[in-house]
Symmetry: C2
């Protein structure tokens, strides 16, 4: 089944990439945009039929590799 892990910087952690995007958007005339945050999304197939097991594995993968939990939080979605 397909799973998606979305990783974002925690609230309060400086996000220079988001700031750069915000400046570029303002320069393009999109002046009503604020609080831009940039994150990453990793999607993959997990071989198996147990949705709960797939979710638990995706969380473990996020903790071990995909996210730096000191400064990032992550969400896991599993699509059966």
């Amino acid at each position: 089944m397909r799973a998606t892990v979305t990783v974002n910087l925690k609230e309060g952690v400086l996000d220079p990439q988001g700031k750069a995007i915000e400046h570029a958007l303002h320069n393009l005339g999109f002046s009503n945009v604020a609080e831009v945050r940039a994150g990453k999304v990793i999607s993959f197939l997990i071989d198996g039929t147990d949705e709960a097991a797939a979710r638990a594995q995706a969380v473990e993968m996020a903790r071990k590799l995909l996210a730096n939990t000191v400064i990032e939080r992550f969400d896991v979605e599993v699509h059966p």
Copy 2:
């Protein structure tokens, strides 16, 4: 209102970052994982109350700046 633009490489476009993550996951013992794709997610606040207008603006922002539509596709979500 808050909006999110998710940007992923189109099907068939080589994804070296996804491949690197896949190799790392296999090396960590997650051998049942395949087709890893890495993308980015940009979230922001749009000042305004019209959901349709906010969505149209987010699509325009994605086309002009956030995504390279030659090799990337994007999805827009607006959370009123």
